[in-house]
């Protein structure tokens, strides 16, 4: 057993194996990083062309400029599309947060098959292809006599964002400790006060996350909006119509701004949610408690 031949062989095998493992690991890392490159190349491209001093969106690079950002303010159509789109989305967020949360609470507390069936029905518009939802709503609005414009778009967006809010809030509701609700009832709070003092505070971050998601979904939506819009366009609809006829770099500029704002919003939202989840992030809680008293 102690002869040199025997002791050398395993050593050789081990070094071969570890070399193979290193190579395999290198390949894995390379693949992993390649996917991120693939995911971010388009985003970086848009960002770069927002600062490129040329109306042609192609290489070579012709120098740095901020003129496209300045041009946003001068483009009246673009600006009015932006403000119209924002008002649509803010209305949608406000209504969807309340309605979606209400639906989640109702589904969570009701028993029997009815809430499950209704929930499944309400979710349908969030999963069918956009043009199918858009066309079916356009048909309905035409038959009922709802004119194309702000409200038709808002209703159309609510159809697919309310189920998103409902599902996000419902997921959180189902994870809540039922003994907290019982403790509250036990200590003298009725159903409504229990919701307000115990359940809702635990749902806040889920509702916030759902509201943010709703904001981006609504603000970005093109196809459904296309079916329901009147003469006033939302921002993505305006961008869409522009891309058909050659695209001006100021659109790169505005989507860069919107992208940056979105990312800042997610970072803030993630930090808020993390703080809620991580029990040892102290400061936020203390601040809230003072308000609570």
């Amino acid at each position: 057993m102690t002869s040199p031949e025997v002791s050398v062989a395993p050593a050789g095998v081990i070094s071969m194996e570890s070399a193979l493992r290193v190579i395999r690991s290198l390949f894995a890392w390379a693949g992993f990083i390649a996917v991120y490159l693939f995911l971010y190349t388009p985003l970086v491209t848009i960002g770069i062309f927002a600062f490129n001093d040329s109306t042609v969106q192609a290489l070579p690079w012709s120098g740095f400029t901020l003129q496209w950002f300045g041009a946003i303010g001068q483009n009246g159509l673009l600006f009015s599309a932006l403000t119209f789109g924002l008002s649509v989305s803010l209305l949608v967020v406000a209504v969807a947060s309340v309605v979606g949360t209400y639906f989640a609470v109702v589904v969570n507390s009701a028993t029997g098959a009815a809430p499950r069936v209704l929930l499944a029905a309400v979710i349908i518009p969030a999963i069918v292809p956009g043009m199918v939802l858009g066309l079916s709503l356009a048909i309905t609005f035409r038959l009922v006599g709802i004119p194309a414009g702000l409200w038709s778009i808002v209703i159309g967006h609510l159809a697919f964002t309310v189920p998103v809010v409902t599902l996000v809030v419902l997921t959180r509701l189902r994870r809540l400790d039922p003994s907290l609700t019982q403790a509250s009832m036990d200590l003298g709070a009725n159903g409504w006060r229990t919701f307000w003092h115990v359940t809702f505070p635990q749902l806040r971050t889920a509702i916030l996350a759902a509201a943010l998601l709703t904001l981006t979904l609504s603000f970005d939506e093109v196809v459904i909006t296309f079916f329901l819009a009147g003469t006033q366009q939302t921002l993505p609809l305006f961008i869409w119509s522009q891309t058909r006829f050659g695209f001006t770099p100021e659109i790169n500029a505005i989507v860069t701004i919107i992208g940056a704002v979105s990312i800042v919003l997610i970072v803030i939202a993630t930090r808020v949610i993390e703080r809620e989840v991580d029990p040892f992030a102290g400061t936020g809680r203390k601040r809230r408690s003072r308000r609570g008293r």
Binding site: L43, M131, G134, S136, T140, S262, T270
Partner: protein, 291 residues
Amino acid sequence: MASVAVTHEGRASFRRRLPLVPLAAWAALLVLAPNVLMLVYSLWRTREGVLYRVFTFDNYIAAVTNDVTLAILGRTVAIAVGAALLATAVAYPMAWFVVRRLSKHRLLAVLLVVVPLWISYLVRVYAWKIILGDNGIINSTLIELGLRDEPLSFMLYSKFAVFLTLTYVSIPFAFVASYAALERVPASLLEASADAGASPARAFRTVVWPLSRQGAAIGFALALLLCIGDYLTPAMVGGLEGTMFGSLIVNQFGLTNNWPLGAAMSIVLLLLTGALLALVARFTRTEGTLD
């Protein structure tokens, strides 16, 4: 005593059901009514822009017997299934990598995959137009470097462009679903299977995959849903060659102004999607759950 209890129950159950009324109204007005009306519309007809309220199956016949429409339908399924498969094939191993190899930066890695979802879909698709075009980044680089004299023409306005872009937009969805499933596979199960003598590859095949393939299937289904009903991607980078079924429906609303035909096509698309999802569900049933 008993009868009192019964009426108590009855009244209580009515009061418990009352909060469901708004939910039911929502389902009726925003889900049931539009779909029923679309179905009705699909059975009507238009001629020269005038709507005739007569029942006919002509729209369905037109939607599924026309050679062009059928070819587009087949292409739509092929591209959507292919892109969803490729996206899942990329995202699932990647999710496994994140779960196994990363600990401190795991959340960051997940977040970085999801961030593109928060950037306008339209913009992400448009970016590919810039990248793939004749004057796009790839072609100008190739020409600049002297590798080619003229641009590669297959890259934009083609099935390839649609396939690539749809794969791109699908990856985050497939990743999130796979990750959610893989993250729940306890490390102790892997240790147990290694302890029992299984090689890492074998442990993966016998433990990890059976417990997480439903997540992969959900990711695939999400991606498929996204791809099969997409309009922006084929319209932006597909050209004539890359037209998909969704574009036909949009055209019936816009250019052609034949809503009944559009409605019939919508219903065909819905049925097709439903059938595909049912297939996915059928092939990925799992025994046992983690919870």
